[in-house]
């Protein structure tokens, strides 16, 4: 059986390897997924009765969301630092930065848990209003992306990463670059969700 070509080396025509091309096409589809929901938000906001979105939006916690924004930005920088550490052949630093990224993801989810349960405690559910419907849909989908990313990050923090580092260092650096691109995208989505849902 022949090996799959262009796993690490670049294709001569595109200048990209399979993983890099694949993740960017996937991220393009993700832009359309979230874009559809952003479009729905605009549509619903303009169609809502005067002051309705302002009233329900005021029930969200700006300090918690600001904290989560800072947490995700921190996780983005530690993610890119973990990749840079691999490039510098500093495996211990890679593990440390990736560990911080995972902790940031966990902190984000904890804050989100308290946000959601706080709403439920006050009898606020997705069915309570149009705003809450789109709020829970957008943030819920984003949380699912965080959980998905976290699972992959944990995988690359376990002994599997040690094994991959011993066997093929370039492959590990490539995989971390790819999951890093996904993780930065998740941060990017939150950068737009934060002002639209919490501040406007």
């Amino acid at each position: 059986m022949s090996n799959i070509p262009y796993i690490l080396e670049e294709r001569p025509d595109t200048g990209l390897n399979n993983a890099k091309l694949g993740i960017w096409i996937f991220l393009a589809s993700e832009v359309m997924l979230f874009g559809g929901l952003f479009s729905a938000y605009v549509f619903l906001r303009f169609a809502a009765p005067e002051g309705d979105f302002d009233y329900w939006g005021s029930k969200l916690s700006i300090p918690m969301a600001t904290f989560n924004t800072m947490v995700l930005i921190t996780s983005s920088v530690t993610m890119v630092m973990s990749w840079a550490s691999l490039k510098l052949q500093q495996f211990d630093k890679y593990k440390m930065y990736l560990g911080i990224t995972i902790l940031c993801a966990a902190a984000f989810l904890c804050v989100k848990y308290f946000e959601y349960t706080g709403k439920f405690h006050h009898g606020i559910y997705p069915s309570s209003s149009t705003f809450m419907g789109i709020y829970f849909t957008l943030t819920g989908l984003h949380v699912l992306h965080i959980i998905g990313g976290m699972i992959v990050l944990i995988f690359f923090w376990t002994k599997q990463a040690d094994k991959m580092w011993d066997e093929n260092q370039d492959l590990l650096a490539n995989r971390i670059e790819i999951i890093g691109l996904y993780w930065h995208f998740v941060d990017l989505v939150w950068i737009f969700l934060f002002p639209i849902l919490y501040l406007l």
Binding site: A28, S39, V42, A47, A84, L88, I196, L199
Partner: protein, 101 residues
């Protein structure tokens, strides 16, 4: 790895830290702007402008788009066009008096 590429990565790390600081400052600015007594449209464009600057920093530096291949740029250009069509469809319906409104 050669000393040259090590030096290049170390240079990148300094940029990442500067971008991180810029993102933090812009986040605080976004929150501060939300407390200004301005109209919704003004607040919307201000918030989206700051978010776009933050997004560009993440895309350009953390996702290395500024030094990325043309194939990726074209994928993103096509996505951006499709995204704007998607975003502006609801706005078109708002101007349609015989439509939903």
């Amino acid at each position: 790895m050669s000393n040259d590429s090590n030096h290049s990565i170390e240079h990148h790390i300094q940029i990442y830290i500067k971008v991180f600081i810029a993102l933090g400052v812009l986040t605080m600015l976004t929150v501060a702007v939300s407390y200004l007594e301005i109209s919704f449209i003004e607040a919307f464009f201000l918030a989206i402008t700051i978010a776009t600057i933050k997004g560009s920093l993440v895309l350009g530096f953390f996702m290395h788009l500024i030094s990325e291949r043309a194939a990726i740029i074209w994928i993103l250009v096509a996505t951006a066009i499709a995204f704007f069509i998607l975003m502006f469809f609801p706005l078109i319906s708002l101007t349609d008096a015989s439509g939903l409104y």
